[in-house]
């Protein structure tokens, strides 16, 4: 489930991936509030992922799409840039941004998301999100989706994102 799929990761990246894997596994039991702590808080600088979740699909037949949300936290001394992602069971993942032009909703792919050194960026409803396309199954609450986040530096992070219901109380 958790693995290093590329050999050209930096040594610190390996630790981050391992750390996130541990975090993701620890987060399995609590679907409501996953990954709220960083494995490296107060420790090694890293890119970490908080509050990752995926919205349940609205249909049951294959080929559904939905959105994934998360917050990227960069405690590294340099900027990072998210340039893509993969998701288990999705034919494709695109980074999209919803913007409002007056009351007109506009949604478009973006080439990447910059996360400056020391900064955090939220991918949240009504703004940036990962669009998961061509899913091979319906996603229902309490499922998890393994996301691989791909950064321009070559860093890849794996995170397990719980599926949340369409209507959250």
């Amino acid at each position: 489930m958790i693995g290093l799929r590329r050999s050209r990761l930096h040594p610190w990246a390996v630790w981050m991936v391992i750390g996130l894997g541990i975090l993701a596994l620890a987060g399995c039991g609590g679907a409501d509030n996953p990954a709220t702590a960083t494995p490296t808080a107060g420790g090694t600088p890293a890119i970490t992922v908080q509050d990752a979740w995926v919205r349940a699909t609205t249909g049951t037949e294959p080929g559904q799409m939905t959105a994934a949300y998360l917050t990227l936290v960069n405690t590294l001394p340099h900027d990072e840039r998210l340039i893509g992602a993969r998701a288990e069971g999705a034919g494709a993942v695109e980074i999209h941004e919803t913007t409002m032009q007056g009351e007109m909703m506009h949604m478009a792919p973006v080439s990447g998301v910059d996360v400056a050194a020391g900064a955090s960026v939220a991918l949240a409803p009504g703004g940036l999100h990962l669009m998961l396309l061509d899913l091979d199954r319906a996603l229902v609450p309490d499922d998890t989706v393994v996301l691989t986040l791909i950064f321009e530096s070559g860093l890849e992070l794996l995170v397990e994102a719980p599926v949340r219901p369409l209507v959250q109380e």
Partner: protein, 204 residues
Amino acid sequence: MIRPRPRLTLPGLVLLAAVLAGCGLAPDPAQPTATPLPGTVLNPPRVLADFTLTDHTGAPFGLDDLRGRVALVFFGFTHCPDICPTTLADFKQVKTQLGSATDEVAFVFFSVDGARDTPERLAAYVRAFDPDFIGLTGDDAVLRPVAADFGVYYQAHAPASGSGSYLVDHTASVFALDREGRLAIVFPYGTPPDAIARRLRALL
């Protein structure tokens, strides 16, 4: 020249704490503040042109089918991953907050993507939020003037190469119709469900 750094003294800290504490104070309930609810009330309500679309069961559906009830309306498309499910989730919360009064309210999702949003697909979509929600679809030639009557505009993007999937930009306002099927309130995108519920109660 060396400028002295500003220092936070103990009295300063106490003052700061007092100010910060004051920020969190709830307004005195005995003195209600006149905060207007979000949403533009049309006075008089605007008469809409009748239409015939297809509902999520495949049956014809027109403005007459909404008369006698208050209706909450949103235009979107089922391949929309972000704004549309967020708004329909809000509709569900409005329904919950209205309690028993909800029998007199129709929750209607108009598709702006008739090419992909078949009645079957719409049925799965709206029922994923609530079994009572209504989905309406039709050919673009029929949908466009209906949308325009609400002040809603939409534009499909060119399909991405390969997948053939495409996105649709659309007006994201929420509309309330009165019992006569007239446009009564326009809510800006993102209006909290409790504010919508309070406004709807006034129409009931």
